[in-house]
């Protein structure tokens, strides 16, 4: 049973001019639990607070109701005041009789009556308040970055520079990601490798960064500040410590006909390979599916030629378990599969390629050594058609509903580069809209049109028909001239939509991070918390959160790093005490609460419950206080009322309702 003190503030004349403060004091005195009531000019002032502290001591109060301005103004003040008076800060409730009463009502009787009712509701609530303690949990001062593309590298560098150890987990044999596959970057036409490689080197050399390539996250447990992550380091078949990166093994490998992932399958690699020349680490892996030694047991040439003795066919996958305080997801993207867009003849003609494939074709280290040529016959193309929005902004459900954002710009880049290097080649771009928001972006696009004579056609391509002579017949419409277009092209480039890396769903599940229908990770708030997952301690970097170009990715990577640093810099995390709590005796273990929890704060435990003498093994919900943010979604999803929210319990809210309706 509480001993409640009620303190009514005049707020100068802000409240007292319309609310009869003295009457409020009189009226609330007979409310259940109220031991003491008084009013004062400015309750929030030092003198006002002193009055509260004095009253607490004198009347042995254990609950406070302050009738004053909005709790958004001074709830914190009065909670601190309560603490100073020696009572739990969560035993304080504010009745908002200024913003919600005196300021909006003119009639004194009416306003006074309402103020009394608001006070009653607060008193009814405090009668059911329980002291709450903010929990504390430690923070492991180490971060994990999942994904070693430009986003992951940048995030890792920023965190590492702030002095915290970071691990990068990359599933490919080298870090670098999509950016390493690009030739030039818009809008400045820098060479992609030239700007990325130094970053890669820096990351590899950074004392605070550990890179796990050819590795995958296998399991995540724990919560903000205290994640435990199991990482699978796939067997590389190379002793990384011994390998000098001389490359002889790759040269001598007899199995050179394996399609190169790095070149999007347009070129080949050996079975023992580094994906590209600047790979970091510069240590090859053996593709066990391609390697003769692994397939037949005969061969072993690489082992013979390796002077360092680094080849180890007996290696197995190893598991690394590490603790982290924060996790940044930077899993990036891939191009969508084009099997649903066969009208563009991608599967039928080698000369229909995606933009990313074009990047490789144009790259000096690519399959054609940088010469623009048809992949079917090696001839130089004269007529190239670019098709925009393949699978993006798709209304019919075949592709993605969203705009992939980067395609307009890279297509302009490709067109411009081709026209620059091969002025005799005609370039036509079919587009729905050209979207170029961004610094120097529109200028870039206009240069392509105006200075380089790229032919932009607003309209969609219905079909690409490979001709017997090897040409490609492009059927499209020009929406501006409103006419059908038939165009013979030597090459067609598809700006395929990008989609989050398919592995991200598995990772999101492990992290209990929420994910949207398109597999993009959801941010905690679309505007105000764009680089945080709703799940505490999980941060988002790069395209895993939504389509982005390189500068945006780098900016977001930095932002995610800052958020992670902010977390790692803390020694202790204070947890919000107004969290959900499950009554194990009532819990059905039905999972409805976990289904609506945006934070993955609810887990289930099978344990023995003593229900009034009956012992039973039951599945019951457990709330992780470090993760729960106290929204209360679970409390309504719970049919039995087992789940309740501390500080806003069912009985408390009902008491408020009752007091108001009385």
């Amino acid at each position: 049973m509480q001993r409640i003190g009620v303190f009514v503030c005049h707020c100068g004349s802000n409240i007292a001019a319309t609310v009869d403060v003295k009457k409020v004091v009189e009226m609330v005195k007979t409310e259940p639990g109220v031991i003491h009531a008084e009013d004062y000019q400015y309750m929030c002032s030092e003198a006002g607070q002193a009055k509260i502290i004095e009253a607490v001591k004198e009347h042995k109060l254990n609950g406070l109701v302050v009738c004053s301005c909005s709790p958004r103004m001074h709830e914190a003040t009065f909670r601190k005041c309560a603490e100073r008076a020696g009572i739990n800060p969560y035993m304080v409730e504010i009745a908002n009789i200024r913003e919600h009463c005196s300021w909006i009502h003119k009639d004194m009787d009416e306003a006074t009556e309402k103020a009394v009712i608001l006070a009653r509701a607060a008193i009814a609530k405090v009668n059911l308040n329980a002291p709450l303690q903010a929990g504390e949990s430690g923070v492991v001062k180490r971060a994990l970055v999942i994904g070693g593309g430009i986003a992951g590298i940048q995030t890792a560098l920023d965190i590492a520079d702030a002095g915290f150890p970071v691990d990068i987990v990359e599933k490919e044999p080298s870090i670098g990601g999509r950016m390493s596959q690009l030739d030039k970057t818009f809008p400045t036409l820098d060479c992609s490798a030239c700007i990325l490689t130094p970053k890669m080197v820096e990351a590899a050399a950074h004392p605070n960064i550990t890179i796990h390539t050819y590795s995958e996250v296998e399991n995540v447990s724990g919560f903000v500040g205290n994640f435990t992550v199991e990482i699978r380091k796939k067997a590389r078949s190379i002793d990384m410590d011994k390998c000098t990166g001389c490359g002889l093994c790759q040269e001598k490998c007899p199995m050179k006909k394996t399609p190169s992932e790095f070149n999007r399958g347009l070129g080949n690699r050996s079975a023992i390979y580094t994906p590209f020349a600047q790979a970091i680490p510069n240590v090859p892996v053996i593709d066990r599916n391609a390697c003769l030694k692994f397939k037949t047991g005969k061969c072993g040439i690489c082992s013979t030629v390796c002077a360092a003795g680094a080849i180890d066919y007996t290696q197995v996958d190893t598991m690394v378990t590490e603790k982290y305080g924060a996790i940044v997801v930077a899993t990036g993207f891939d191009m969508i599969k084009l099997d649903k867009y066969d009208e563009y003849a991608y599967s039928q003609s080698k000369d229909v390629i995606t933009s990313l494939e074009l990047e490789r074709v144009m790259n000096a280290a690519g399959p054609t050594k940088g010469h623009l040529e048809r992949l079917s016959d090696g001839k130089a193309p004269k007529e190239i058609v670019f098709i925009q929005c393949v699978g993006s902004r798709c209304a019919d459900g075949r592709g993605k509903g969203y705009c992939s954002k980067i395609c307009c710009m890279y297509t302009a880049k490709h067109a411009m580069l081709i026209r620059d290097k091969y002025p005799d080649v005609n370039v036509t771009v079919f587009y729905i809209d050209v979207r170029t928001p961004g610094k120097n972006f529109d200028e870039f696009y206009r240069r392509a049109v105006e200075n380089y004579g790229v032919n932009y056609v607003k309209g969609q391509v219905g079909k690409v028909i490979p001709q017997p002579d090897g040409k490609l017949l492009v059927q499209g419409v020009d929406l501006i001239d409103n006419k059908q277009i038939l165009k013979e092209a030597d090459m067609v480039v598809l700006a395929a939509a990008i989609e989050p890396n398919p592995d991200v769903r598995k990772i999101a599940t492990m992290l209990t991070a929420s994910i949207d229908n398109d597999n993009f990770l959801t941010e905690a708030h679309a505007k105000l918390r764009p680089v945080e997952s709703p799940t505490a301690g999980i941060f988002l970097s790069g395209v895993c959160q939504g389509p982005k170009d390189i500068p945006e990715t780098v900016a977001q990577a930095g932002a995610a790093a800052v958020k992670a640093i902010g977390l790692l810099a803390k020694d202790k995390l204070m947890t919000n005490p107004c969290t959900a709590k499950s009554d194990e005796l009532l819990c059905n273990g039905c999972s409805k609460c976990a289904n609506v929890c945006p934070y993955g704060a609810i887990s289930y435990e099978v344990k023995e419950i003593n229900d009034h003498g009956i012992r039973e093994t039951r599945r019951v919900a457990q709330v992780n206080n470090a993760l729960c943010q106290g929204c209360g979604a679970c409390t309504v999803a719970c049919p039995s009322g087992a789940m309740d929210l501390q500080g806003f319990s069912n009985r408390q809210i009902i008491a408020e309702v009752d007091a108001i309706c009385r």
């Binding site: 005796l585 059905n588 273990g589 289904n595 039995s640 069912n650």
Partner: protein
């Protein structure tokens, strides 16, 4: 029926299952009761499966899941939805159940027969599409299809959604529009609606049969029995409480109710309780897309999902 008994005996004998959950002959042909059988003799002597075996056995599996070994449970097509929903909610253990999906040609409702004016029933025998009824006051007959439970007229289909094996033939019984009754009420004026429900609900005696039989109402302790909401009520001391209980009960099972119709079957006062659940189902279908609870064991359920473009609550007003 003999096939079921034979198979059940086999499964008991080879140790696949430790017990059989089925129906036991009553002392009248129309009052079989759910029962557990542990021996072949017991099955031979007492097992029955017939037109009056309407009880949905899936809820008994909550307790049976805690027993040693597997339980052979007989589920009619509509019962399998309930069972799936219970798996979804972790209330039953799939591994502890051996499910024989039994055929169903519609289940009979003794109340319907009595309400047709037949009194003093001594025996009822099936004769093709007809029921021969022997009473204290002479013999009469009735069409099988006229004596069906309400739910059988709006049957969801005779496909078993989960089973280990199937025994017996089914027969389609659906001959009414599932939402016709709901639509009829929706078209009423507010006064008529209010009068309709007031009249029906005022009959409620708060016996809790609807709740206790409901496979979705599987809470260990109902909010109406606990002090958590200060809502514990044992009697409808005011007309408000009748509504409160039934609205909240329907709300708690919304998106989880498979429309098995047990609530309406068991109500001693004949309150058409399915009208509440079916209203929610109809709304869910209209607002959030067709959804059948229990059809998919992994479904999240409409009230624990959302889309950005969901309709606003004001749709209720707009719809008129």
């Amino acid at each position: 029926m003999q096939k079921i008994v034979e198979r059940a005996k086999e499964l008991l004998a080879d140790g696949t299952v430790n017990r059989v959950l089925g129906w036991k002959k009553g002392d009248m042909c129309f009052n079989p009761e759910p029962a557990f059988f542990e021996t072949a003799e017991d099955l031979d002597e007492n097992f029955v499966y017939g037109g009056f075996c309407g009880a949905n056995l899936s809820k008994y599996m909550i307790d049976a899941s805690k027993l040693e070994g597997k339980t052979l449970v007989l589920l009619k097509p509509c019962d399998t939805y309930s069972f799936n929903q219970l798996i979804n909610e972790h209330r039953v253990d799939r591994e502890k159940a051996y499910i024989i999906g039994v055929g169903c040609k519609g289940k009979l409702n003794i109340e319907t027969i009595k309400q047709s004016g037949v009194k003093g029933i001594l025996n009822i025998t099936e004769n093709g599409d007809m029921l021969n009824i022997e009473t204290l006051y002479g013999n009469t007959e009735m069409k099988y299809s006229d004596a069906l439970l309400e739910r059988c007229h709006v049957c969801k289909g005779k496909e078993h959604k989960i089973y280990d094996e199937l025994i017996g033939e089914s027969q389609d019984t659906s001959d009414r529009e599932r939402f016709a009754e709901v639509e009829k009420i929706e078209k009423m004026s507010p006064e008529e609606k209010f009068a309709f429900f007031q009249k029906e609900l005022s009959k409620c005696i708060r016996c809790n049969a609807c709740r206790n039989v409901c496979p979705a109402c599987s809470c260990r302790k109902c909010v109406f029995d606990s002090t958590k909401f200060d809502s514990s009520q044992k009697a409808n001391t005011d007309s408000f409480e009748e509504k409160m209980f039934h609205i909240i009960r329907a709300f708690h099972v919304a998106g989880r109710c498979t429309d098995c119709g047990e609530c309406s079957r068991v109500c001693p006062q004949g309150i058409p309780l399915h009208l509440f659940n079916r209203k929610f189902i109809k709304d869910i279908n209209e607002f959030y897309g067709e959804y059948q609870a229990g059809a998919d064991v992994d479904a999240k359920g409409p009230l624990t999902e959302y889309t950005f473009g969901d309709c606003e609550p004001s749709i209720v007003k707009e719809r008129g």
